[in-house]
Amino acid sequence: MIVMKNVYKKYPNGVVAANGINIEIDRGEFVYVVGPSGAGKSTFIKMMYREEAPTSGDIIINGINLATLRNKRIPYLRRQIGVVFQDFKLLPKLNVYENVAFALEVIEESPDEIRKKVNDVLALVGLTQKARMFPNELSGGEEQRVSIARSIVNVPKVVIADEPTGNLDPETSWEIMRIFEQINARGTTIVMATHNREIVNTIKHRVIAIEGGLITRDEYGGEYYEG
């Protein structure tokens, strides 16, 4: 599903964020990516949806090699990947329904398909009742649920989440995790960068620790600890 081979990334300012990363993530896995700030977690995540390109090495997602992927093909890669952020990235002028539908509109889905898929996914994240509300009328947890709904509405094979619970209180974080578990149970691969020790130690999954641009630990059912 996701393969990285000797991935090396050096930014123009000289910072080396990936220093020979090798990893393999199978279909349907749930992976936590942990590590201190500035360790290369974000770069690791960003390279998966080709926000950043590796300086050298291969990244293969779903059979597509991102190292040789032409810029023109990036949109088609991203249609197979859902991305969730810490700051939700919702459009304030669109309501819940429209925010989710937006992801399908820009890839030119038919209105019938859009209606069906958006309603399905809003039911999954429990926001059917709030479909007509605007982001500023929602709580943080609800906003994150909208953002998750948007990331999975196109039924991607992989969902990549960068600190999805970073801005949320503990209770809401559990709620969000429950949704991720549900998505994972349907067979979707999930890669989640997180700082949340409690979650990692309670809902056990594979843990990949990154430090200094290297994978320092890779354990199934691992714990959260630094260093």
């Binding site: 949109p75 249609r79 992801a103 196109n154």
Partner: protein, 294 residues
């Protein structure tokens, strides 16, 4: 692209035109002023060109044969002139005919000369390409038994010089104006892009193609160009019709004629509209390329 998508792009482009009303106004005004000046310049240039053409076509070389030459020599000269490359036509006019023409122009007193005509036979020569008149005239001048070779040398050359200079100055001005208009449009579009940065980021994240992101901005530029072209088209059309109506009857029989309104005005309007669209789309393209990095 699907019709539904085109509709969406259209709506998006209209939306941001309304949202940035001041910048829209500024860039539309810039396009208006530019196209108006360009249009007026073209009207003047085209009419001057027309004048130059009619003067050019009127230019002929008058070859006066040596009055002392006998008939056989003259015939030889006529043949030689006819055989010169680049010649459209040669009209022979005998010395007696030439004198008749002079008598007609200057009065009967000249009839005295009928006893012993001092004039030579004349040949009226037209070049296929009027611009080559001077070269041909010089060549004919080298033939034997030519007494004088005359053509409107200075008049023609001066006119060409004036035309060329004004054309060049005008072109430089137009280019500067076009550049300003494009710059303003490109700024307007940049503001739209900045205002919609988050939206663009999300669009790219969920897999919108580059064209999908780009097209609304290009359309917006196109609308600005079209809006800017409307006033110049109207002003120039109405003014030219009025001008034509007023002057055309007075210029009957003159060398200088105003260009007919059709097809000239239609072609000019087409050109103005095209330039408006070009400025708009190009200006916005520059901005999109620079600020979108799609």
């Amino acid at each position: 692209m699907k019709a539904r998508t085109i509709g969406r792009h259209m709506r998006e482009s209209f939306k941001s035109i309304r949202r940035n009303s001041w910048m829209t106004f500024a860039s539309v005004s810039a396009v208006t002023v530019t196209l108006l000046l360009v249009g007026v310049f073209i009207v003047i240039m085209m009419n001057l060109n027309q004048l130059a053409d009619s003067i050019e076509n009127d230019v002929e070389i008058k070859v006066v044969a040596d009055p002392a030459a006998d008939k056989a020599v003259i015939e030889e000269l006529v043949e030689k002139v006819r055989a010169t490359p680049g010649i459209l036509e040669v009209v022979y006019s005998s010395r007696d005919k030439e004198l008749d023409k002079m008598i007609q122009s200057f009065g009967d007193e000249l009839s005295l000369y009928k006893q012993s005509n001092p004039l030579g036979d004349a040949l009226y020569v037209k070049a296929k390409d009027p611009q080559k008149t001077a070269a041909i005239a010089k060549k004919i001048d080298t033939y034997d038994y030519t007494y004088e070779v005359i053509y409107g040398e200075e008049k023609v050359e001066k006119l060409f010089n004036v035309l060329n200079t004004s054309r060049n100055v005008g072109l430089v001005l137009i280019l500067a104006l076009l550049f300003t208009a494009m710059f303003l449009i490109s700024n307007t579009i940049r503001i739209t892009i900045v205002a919609r940065r988050k939206e663009i980021e999300i669009m790219k994240l969920v897999g919108a193609t580059n064209n999908f992101v780009r097209i609304p901005f290009l359309l917006e530029g196109m609308w600005l160009g079209i809006l800017g072209a409307i006033a110049p088209m109207l002003i120039i059309t109405i003014s030219y019709y009025k001008l034509y109506e007023h002057w055309e009857p007075k210029l009957q029989g003159e060398l200088f004629q105003l260009l007919n309104t059709t097809p000239f005005i239609y072609q000019l309007n087409g050109l103005i509209l095209f330039m408006g669209i070009f400025i708009g789309v190009w200006g916005s393209f520059m901005s999109v390329r620079k600020f979108l990095k799609v």
